[in-house]
């Protein structure tokens, strides 16, 4: 199995709802498993939220990308443990989120309590911000507003 070639394919698969970030940078791809005997090699993926409607779309787009690159024998397997956390979003992924207008989630378990710290406005960089809605357009986001530039923005919730 050519691991680096497979990873290169996966890095080209965007998240369906946040298409500027790849499924690798979001931490959805957990790794590769070598084939052994009867067992096919596999890409291991994990869902973000249990009910995330994008999960199936992600699996299908990974499948299509692998098939297109000639890796039709590589399976796509879902694993639940360890549970996905926003700490797995890569530094590159965080920069991409911010450039897209979504405040990246704070890192670390301490940030997990609600409203532990004000989000940084992805447009003007101000920390003078407030939560408007606990949930946003998807389960993984909350809606915030900047008190300086007054723009509303999505915050990727710490999870």
């Amino acid at each position: 199995m050519d691991a680096s070639a497979i990873m290169a394919v996966l890095e080209g698969v965007p998240d369906p709802e946040i298409p500027v970030v790849s499924v690798v940078d979001l931490g959805i791809v957990r790794g590769l498993r070598d084939g052994e005997g009867e067992r096919s090699p596999a890409v291991l993926i994990t869902p973000t939220y249990t009910g995330c409607p994008a999960t199936l779309a992600i699996e299908m787009s990974i499948r299509a990308a692998l098939d297109g690159a000639g890796f039709g024998d590589v399976r796509v397997d879902t694993v639940l443990s360890p549970a996905w956390t926003t700490d797995w979003i890569s530094d590159r992924g965080r920069e991409q989120l911010k450039a897209y207008g979504i405040a990246p989630p704070p890192k670390g378990a301490n940030a997990r309590s609600l409203n532990a710290q004000p989000a940084e406005c992805p447009r003007c960089g101000s920390h003078d911000t407030r939560e408007i809605s606990r949930f946003g357009s998807t389960p993984c986001k909350a809606l915030w507003q900047c008190n300086d530039c007054h723009e509303p923005f999505d915050l990727f919730k710490c999870h």
């Binding site: 009910g51 995330c52 639940l80 996905w84 946003g136």
Partner: protein, 265 residues
């Protein structure tokens, strides 16, 4: 989501399989029925913020029920999958508690139900992460993060409404009055769950009551609401004795897959 890798046979003795199947239905049905109730608010909630919140909580619970019913189907080892368990079981075969099938009522009644159920589910799933049955421990660890969020959100609304206007306070009192009689059932242990608890598979519900009572007392105090009292608990959901509300809910939820069994999107 049915592709999740669950090793159904890991560490389950044959004599425990029937109990475990029933137990997984209890957990899965709680999540499924509460999700279905909450989803009825979609497009009808009082403000956009609430519409988003309730729909997203419903979505989290639907995901949890998918995993739990999928695990149940694997333990059963037959031909039924999670969809068959959700859409092709009759009302008497559902094992959810009575609280989750209670009607939405007004927003205060819905929030009261969410507050009480999440205040139970959060510490319960925290215990469940230590289950000796690995698939269940993994589902619990994943769901716990979501449930903690639900519990915080519902508690905030209880405080906002209880300590709000005369009208919102009165509606919260009515919501508590409606739901409090269903609290005891959340903590009931029976032969099925006692056996699983002894094997380390299921938590002891009764042992979590003190933590629940403390949490509820603290939030109600912040909300300036009196501690609820109800003379007699109502129970029976775990053995299929449901209120009339569940049948109506299932009629809506199951209509399409039952009428058109081979329908696909």
């Amino acid at each position: 989501m049915s592709g999740a890798t669950l090793t159904a046979d890991a560490g389950v003795a044959d004599e425990q399989r029937a109990a475990l199947f029933d137990y997984l239905l209890r957990l899965g049905d709680d999540a499924l029925i509460l999700s279905q109730q909450l989803s009825e608010w979609c497009g009808h909630a009082p403000v956009l913020e609430v519409d988003l919140s309730l729909a997203n909580i419903a979505l989290d619970l639907l995901g949890q029920s998918t995993l739990l019913l999928d695990a149940a189907a694997k333990i059963e080892g037959g031909t039924r999958d999670a969809d068959a368990l959700a859409f092709h079981r009759d009302v008497l075969a559902f094992r959810n508690c009575l609280m989750v099938e209670q009607p939405n009522g007004d927003f205060a009644q819905t929030i009261t139900r969410q507050f009480l159920y999440s205040a139970f589910q959060a510490p319960y799933f925290a215990q469940l992460t230590a289950s000796t049955y690995t698939p269940l421990a993994e589902i619990a660890a994943k769901a716990l993060k979501e449930v903690t969020y639900h519990a915080d959100l519902a508690a905030e609304w209880v405080i906002r409404l209880g300590d709000g206007t005369y009208e919102s306070r009165q509606r919260m009192l009515d919501g508590l009055d409606w739901h409090w009689r269903f609290v005891d059932e959340l903590f009931d242990m029976d032969a099925i769950e006692s056996g699983l608890a002894a094997a380390g598979i299921a938590p002891d519900r009764a042992a979590l009551r003190a933590e629940f009572d403390a949490k509820v007392a603290q939030v109600l105090s912040d909300a300036t609401l009196p501690a609820p009292e109800y003379p007699r608990a109502t129970r029976g959901g775990r053995v299929g004795h449901h209120s009339e509300h569940l049948g109506h809910l299932l009629a809506v939820m199951q209509f399409l897959p039952r009428t058109y069994p081979d329908a696909e999107w």
